[in-house]
């Protein structure tokens, strides 16, 4: 977990361990978990030309932060952009995908957007995420 999300203070570590226990319970209860690869492929069905980056916030296979970059978003309002994705994804909500935080950007917006993702279970704080794909490029 910590190799994926930088936990910057002690209170978040507590949240982290609680989540780990929740994940263990879910797995033992037979809850279906989906992979980031699966989600990425599903998003591509909705926005074929997109650059898609999926982050499994808790490695629990159900809370995802998804960054979608596509020139086709140009001139579209934020809700229109999300709806293009959600109209396809809603068949998977709330099971197996419980939470999905979307960032739909044009390439110009993506170039100036920071690396912080919002974690709904981190006490309302944003968390800094290590974006693995981007680090590979750098």
């Amino acid at each position: 977990m910590t190799e994926f999300i930088d936990i910057e203070n002690a209170s978040m570590v507590t949240v982290d361990s609680v989540l780990t226990r929740q994940v263990q319970r879910r797995v033992s209860a037979g809850v279906v978990m989906v992979s980031t690869e699966w989600l990425e492929a599903e998003v591509h069905k909705a926005v074929p030309d997109a650059d898609v980056e999926v982050i499994d916030l808790h490695r629990s296979g159900d809370h995802f932060h998804v960054r979608i970059t596509s020139p086709s978003f140009e001139g579209m309002r934020p809700l229109q952009r999300q709806k293009q994705v959600l109209n396809h994804m809603k068949q998977f909500i709330p099971h197996p995908v419980h939470a999905i935080d979307l960032k739909c950007m044009t390439p110009e917006q993506a170039a100036v957007t920071g690396d912080t993702a919002f974690d709904p279970h981190a006490g309302g704080q944003g968390v800094h995420i290590r974006r693995i794909n981007r680090q590979k490029e750098e």
């Binding site: 934020p78 809700l79 999300q82 994804m89 979307l102 919002f118 974690d119 709904p120 309302g124």
Partner: protein, 118 residues
């Protein structure tokens, strides 16, 4: 609140209030980080808003999501129009478009006769 969560009732809520937040819990005690973030956006905007706790009734989430055709909570309505969830609300707060949309609709709600710039 005695609600059956019919489309008519839901429409009446967003028609009656310029800002409506459908959320898990209440602004003081949000039950989800996304709802908490949405409530904070509303509070930062500084205008009165109606918060509807969709955990108060098990019928609420499916009814609201079907009516609004949006699959997740929270949901934010400005002058009757769905803008999206907490991520869009925060984005619109930061780029000023939430304020713009609220002010533009307010001029409209006040009834004609003003260009909005005077």
């Amino acid at each position: 609140m005695n609600m059956d969560w019919t489309p008519e009732e839901l429409q009446a809520i967003v028609d009656e209030h310029a800002l409506v937040l459908f959320m898990k819990g209440t602004p003081d005690q949000a039950q989800c980080g996304f709802s908490n973030r949405a409530a904070q956006v509303m509070q930062t905007l500084g205008e009165p808003f109606a918060a509807v706790n969709i955990l108060s009734d098990p019928r609420a989430i499916p009814s609201v999501c079907t009516w609004s055709d949006f699959p997740t909570m929270p949901q934010i309505f400005v002058h009757g129009e769905l803008i999206g969830g907490s991520d869009i609300a925060l984005e619109m707060l930061n780029d000023g478009s939430l304020r713009e949309m609220f002010d533009a609709g307010k001029a409209k709600d006040d009834g004609g006769g003003c260009c909005g710039s005077c």
